[in-house]
Amino acid sequence: MDQTVQAPGPVTGPGAPGSEAAADPGPPARLTIPKVLRGLRRAAGIVPFGVYMALFLIAPMVAVTIGAFQDNSGGFTLSNVNAATHGVYLKGFWQSIILSVLTSVIPGILGLIIAWAIFTAKRGRLLRQVAITAAGVFANFGGVPLAFLFIATLGSSGLVSQWLTSLGFDPYTHGFTLYSLSGVVVVYLYFQIPLMVLVILPALEGLRPAWREAAENLGARTWDYWRYVGGPVLLPSFLGCVLLLFGSALSAYATTEALTNGTIPLTSIQIGSFLNGNVIAGQENIGKALGLGMVVIIAVAMVIYVAMQRRAAKWLR
């Protein structure tokens, strides 16, 4: 029965962490062999995880990146990237970004309001559990089933459309159609709002009740509290979550495909069509270039997200 909780290996003696702190500073630390070995041994525990991620996340991404710059015979070329940033593909990027911005900011705000409503419910334990489970389900609910749901609701002969018509206001004669960008936005809310609720709730839990009470005690009304304390503290997390929604919207694929059948060019759908084989032979790697483009966009967003979270961590401890 081994005596210490350590990764398999000889028990370290006086070199155990903690005792080092007691020794005097001494000469500046050099990367000696034992130190490197010890560092490696300490990293040993995350090797399985690292290997898995390398195989199933990093490697595919590398493959995509490399493929983006390859022509059909494997040589280096910029033609894929070139094609991906012009014409219909450029339009696709542009539409994707616009759609993603709309469906990250709007659900961001709405999701925050809803999450707050759930979070502050007094006797809300059941409400919270139901709401969070529902959010978990709806956040993953997309694609064709969702499209169908909305066609049945807001389609030209959908339930709500018919109700509105019977009330004298036919949305379709006023220019609205489910199969346009605005319609897609309405549909995206169905899974973006739940996602927002899920990710903003932990941040809400970081808002200490004592802050609210202290503010009230000093004379602040609700608006004052949000303006001076709640808002600023929540802002980094909120923006971070919005960026997360942005990434999620950008990746969305099946829903718009099912709704619009390709009338709205979106990068994700364009990539999909490359995999489905609906492309001119010899241009497969353009799909990879498109993928690379998406990753670049999201990488930028992600960097901003991590920076925001770090700022939030300072206050939420």
């Binding site: 004592a210 802050w211 009470e213 202290a214 000093l218 001076y228």
Partner: protein
């Protein structure tokens, strides 16, 4: 550290205190009750606070003291009863308008503001201009000895420093009443002692009526003008610290404040009780049964070294000028007796002693079956 509070602080405090000088605020808690479901957190609590007084609410967890404080602050509503400030019923006044400063247990500073901005927050709510705000907040931080930390953020401050900023913040609005909810509980012992002093000094200088909640009896006894001991939502006794110690009204108070011995005895007719071989008068409440425990402090017992006495020395605990001697009496009763340390040195464990009660009136309580 406290030395920083002289000089500037004195002038600042005087300037602020002058507003109060015209007459402090009286607070009356009248018959407060509050139940949470089946539990009665408060059961008819009434307390009258004189202007400028520091009243401590002392009691174990769950006794209702924090609930009482929060009702006064406006964060909870009482089921029945009312709170009157200077004679006016404020029960329907929202918390934001009650003009009371509150210091919370911990981590109540706004994390996104510097210490200075935190202190100035109440002033900002009162629409005081930025320049004036900065000056007053600066004076207050000076008063609590944290002027150099004015631009630091809460996460850069230690627990003790945070609570001092919280105190300055509460005082910045020149409140009529100061409310403190166990402000020292989350701090180290040494910091706690320093802050105790500082809070008391400030409070006295400003003359602010203060309600202070704590479970630490030492804190309550050393800081307060009067201490209210609470148990199960009721006020057991409210009195000056020394009165609480020497004249506890109930067995609960007697045992909660300081150390108390329990010695089995028998009630006799004519308000007398027999214990340890002597019969002495009873003070205060007589329980309904004749089997009682006599309550007496360690310094209230007499101890002599004799052969074949009624007890055997079991332990000796050195407490400084006094040593607490543990004695096992016949009948499976253990008591603690305080003797001057010089004397107690001669008492070895195992020595035979005689413990007796002096001829003074004692408190009795119903015998506790353990």
């Amino acid at each position: 550290m406290p030395t920083n509070t002289t000089g500037n602080a004195a002038t600042a405090a005087d300037t602020i205190g002058q507003a109060e000088r015209g007459g402090g605020t009286s607070v009356l808690l009248r018959d407060l009750t509050r139940a949470f479901g089946a539990t009665r957190a408060l059961d008819g609590l009434s307390i009258e606070m004189a202007p400028g007084e520091l009243v401590a609410l002392l009691g174990p967890s769950g006794c209702g003291k924090t609930t009482a404080l929060r009702i006064v602050a406006g964060f909870e509503t009482a089921d029945t009863g009312s709170v009157l400030v200077d004679g006016k019923d404020i029960s329907s006044v929202p918390a934001a308008r009650r003009d009371m400063g509150m210091v919370f247990q911990s981590y109540s500073l706004f994390p996104n503001m510097s210490a200075l901005d935190n202190v100035g927050f109440g002033l900002r709510m009162r629409k005081i201009g930025a320049g004036e705000r900065r000056k007053r907040a600066g004076d207050l931080l000076d008063m609590v000895g944290l002027a150099p930390q004015a631009s630091q953020y809460p996460h850069q401050l230690s627990g003790g420093q945070q609570q001092r900023v919280a105190l300055a913040r509460a005082l910045a609005i020149e409140p009529r009443v100061l409310l403190l909810d166990e402000p020292l509980s989350a701090l180290d012992a040494k910091v706690r002692l320093q802050l105790r002093e500082q809070i008391r000094t400030l409070q006295q200088r400003l003359g602010t009526t203060t309600l202070f909640v704590t479970h630490d009896q030492e804190e309550a006894l050393s800081m307060a003008d009067r201490v209210g001991v609470m148990s199960n939502g009721r006020l057991e006794q409210i009195a000056a610290p020394d009165a609480l110690y020497t004249d506890p009204a109930t067995a609960f108070v007697a045992e909660f404040v300081g150390v108390m011995n329990r010695i089995p005895g028998e009630l006799q007719a004519g308000d007398q009780v027999t214990a340890l071989g002597s019969t002495i008068p009873v003070r205060g409440h007589r329980p309904g049964q004749s089997a009682v425990d006599v309550l007496v402090r360690p310094e209230g017992l007499r101890l002599e070294v004799v052969e074949n006495g009624n007890g055997i020395v079991t332990t000796r605990t050195f407490l400084g000028s006094v040593t607490r001697v543990g004695v096992q009496l016949s009948g499976d009763v253990a008591v603690q007796v305080d003797r001057p340390s010089a004397e107690a040195a001669a008492l070895a464990p195992g020595a035979s002693v005689a413990v007796s009660l002096p001829a003074q009136p004692v408190l009795v309580a119903a015998r506790r079956v353990s």
